[in-house]
Amino acid sequence: MIKFSRLFIVFALIFAACSSEDDGTETGGETGGTDSFDRGAMLVNWADNIIVPAYNNMAAKTQNVETAATAFTTAPDAAGLQQLREAYVDAYKSFQSVSMFQVGKAEEINYRSYLNTYPANTSNIDSKISSGSFNLELPSSFAEQGLPALDYLLFGMGTSEEIVAIYSSNENYRTYLNAVASRMNALTTEVSNSWNGDYRDTFVSNTSSSSTGSVDKFTNDYVMYFEKILRSGKIGFPAGAFTGTASPSNVEARFNAEISRELYLEAVQSFEDFFYGRHFSGNGTGSSYKQYLEYLDSMKDGADLASLIEDQLDAIQSQSSSLETNLKSQVEKDNTKMLEAYDELQKAVILLKVDMMQALSISVDYVDSDGD
């Protein structure tokens, strides 16, 4: 019996040691085993070669927009408008390569919602301009700022001449345009600064496998982005997939819809590049989901998921070539092509959300609760 009690104490201690709730806040945990896939290295590749350069690029583009907006509003003319429009289109395209990185500061400040909630609420924008009083920091003002607001402010108020005339004659318009441009730049700078500062290390070192670990959390966001933002936002809503009625005004960049397919393609390409671990600048590639899946597949003898996803991403690309450059007119003229695009995207959603998440053993449910 004495022996028993002593053992009992030992086990009670094991008990106590293991009973702290694993909330997964511990960091580090380098997996040095030669057979293991090194998730730490994947996070480093993601951060240093893709996410940080993409945000730096975006910050440069929003800086250009702000500068061009200041120049244009100081002396509104056709050339200034043209320059501002070009800077804006450039920024919109660049945004497609950062939109999926809604982690860290971007998540905290709701970066994506402030920069690209579309369609813009034009009547609210009009009334705020005419009253001259507005506060772009309110979450209720998502649809009154960012890239969709610029789309309206630079393309949606008439011909180029009319637009130049509006800005020449009206102080309030100039103020609002500058406010939108500078807020966009400020938010982007804030996010890019945090990545260039401490957040990069926080992200890379959080190799935990719990739901708060970088890989888990990011993957949830990445897949959610594809489903909600890319599939539903860019194609599903304008095509009326959820209402039964096509809704051309929901196209991204509706007033300058000539760029809408390009924005869509940029987003697909960026998503794909990330999947392959392609560096943002140059032609390098690094550790990626593709390699991770190949490692796991080889271990599990499963379906070759990496190449299934690869094929589907190719299918999306090739289907998109049958779309008009102007998705708004595509919806208006021949919406079936849009619905076909939706179907191709949908097939990828299943591969990503069901098969990839299962292979990675990452739970899609964000509610933590007990299992059996």
Partner: protein, 454 residues
């Protein structure tokens, strides 16, 4: 046979194991409720959702808004009362009812372990767990006994044995033993565990865990029953459950199972445990040592024994009901619940519902997150009864919205144990043509592989 059964029913044993079990059970349940609350799960699981998935026949059991907290308060307090043995019969009935009500509110949260608690507390209603080391016995000498019928303690052992043994039987299938699934999916993701992270990547370990898990479940009840292997078996119980606690998010249950396994030990040990507790709380334990033997009043005894026999008959048969359904059990899940199939599957799905106007042909897709929490959506997407119930809900919702001639179709893909996702529900079937029932659901597409075994 009859003679020996009679003899067995007359056998008596110390009440101490039963009392210790009651005490630990009550405290653990109280802790579970507090933990559930503290994690914010009452709000997340029972108040925030707009819609709840009901068990067939229990559609009337629903959360009651903010008052749902009250149910948890009642459940927690009754657990404490059970622990103390205070107005025991009433307390355990209240606990059973409130706990079961909570579990019935939404089947999204179904866990074998919760079901175990429900039926265990049901069984405890019929056991005299309050005759020793309880407030009831302290306050009323007439209710204080030192001994109880042996079957009262043995029935708890039997219930635990059923849980383990059936869980072991369920592991006798080709996915578990020959493909090491789903451990092969789960274990590599534990790469960040100290010491263990690296070997979690090794294939041999996945097989070793699968096989030892199966052997453990099948043999542990017998090893616990036999005096000479009991101590080693208990150490195995501790190691096994602590390991599952480290590897998987299973909350309080490893501890509940470990403490429950103590019931297999001799009364001597339980007396020592109770003595230890008595000393801390300055309770005069000797006051309970009355040498009195508890006997059920004649008629009550008959009723109680009948109920217990029926209860165990159901427990022994219910897990086999899946045999009445065609198709692969893991795929259709018909007869899956309440059968101790614990941690056997990694299943994920994606369900896209299409609402069609039968006359105009107009159609649109449903955004599931408009109606379901991510957790509900996840569980719904691979379980046919959820899918059917959700379709009915969508019908109600959209017909209230003014839509007419509604037909509902689902494009549904499910991946099971590492297989590539495959179509699950027939996409050409209008789900509204079916009512939920215990009958086989014809609209489930066949499984495109085979899993051999029980």
């Amino acid at each position: 046979m009859l003679f020996s059964a009679n003899k067995y029913l007359k056998k008596y044993t110390e009440a101490a194991p039963l009392a210790a079990f009651r005490l630990f059970f009550g405290l653990m349940m109280f802790a579970s409720i507090v933990r559930f609350w503290a994690n914010g799960w009452i709000e997340k699981l029972y108040i925030a959702p707009k819609f709840f998935f009901s068990y067939y026949g229990f559609e009337w059991v629903q959360p009651i808004g903010e008052y749902t907290y009250l149910i948890f308060i009642i459940c927690g307090l009754s657990a404490l009362a059970v622990a103390a043995g205070f107005k025991y019969r009433l307390s355990i009935i209240v606990f059973f009812l409130s706990f079961t009500y909570i579990e019935l509110m939404d089947k999204t949260t179904y866990l074998n372990h919760y079901y175990f608690i429900s039926i265990l507390s049901f069984l405890m209603i019929f056991l005299p767990a309050n005759v020793y080391f309880s407030i009831d016995a302290w306050r009323d000498k007439k209710k204080s006994f030192q001994k109880v019928p042996a079957w009262c303690v043995d029935s708890l052992k039997l219930l635990l044995a059923i849980v383990y043994f059936y869980a072991g039987l369920a592991k006798l299938n080709s996915d578990w033993l020959l493909r090491a699934m789903p451990l092969k999916i789960w274990l590599p993701s534990k790469y960040d565990l100290p010491w263990l992270g690296d070997i979690m990547q090794q294939e041999w370990l996945h097989y070793a865990f699968s096989w030892s898990g199966m052997l453990y479940d099948l043999f542990i009840p017998f090893l616990l029953l036999w005096r000479r292997t009991r101590f080693v078996a208990f150490i195995m119980v501790i190691i096994f459950h602590v390991l599952t606690r480290v590897l998987f998010p299973i909350g309080m249950f490893p501890y509940i199972m470990i403490v429950s396994a103590l019931i297999f030990f001799s009364p001597k040990l339980h007396h020592r445990i109770l003595k230890f507790i008595a000393e801390i709380f300055k309770i005069d334990k000797s006051k309970f040592d009355t040498s009195e033997v508890y006997q059920f009043p004649d008629i009550t005894g008959k009723i109680v024994r009948t109920v217990v026999v029926i209860f165990f008959t159901v427990q022994l048969l219910l897990p086999w009901r899946y045999l009445a359904y065609p198709g692969e059990l893991f795929w259709t899940e018909e007869g899956f619940r309440f059968s101790w199939r614990v941690m056997l599957m990694e299943k994920a799905g994606y369900a896209q519902f299409k609402i069609v106007d039968a006359e105009t042909g107009n159609r649109f897709y449903v955004n599931n997150s408009d109606f379901l929490t991510p957790f509900q959506e996840k569980q719904m997407s691979f379980q046919p009864d959820f899918i059917l119930q959700y379709a009915k809900f969508l019908e109600d919702h959209f017909s209230k919205d003014g839509h007419k001639n509604i037909e509902i179709y689902v494009e549904n893909y499910v991946a099971l144990n590492g297989r590539k996702s495959a179509p699950y529900i027939d996409p050409d079937v209008n789900l509204l043509n079916f009512a939920d029932s215990f009958e086989h659901k014809e609209f489930i597409l066949p499984f495109q592989d085979e899993i051999k075994g029980l």
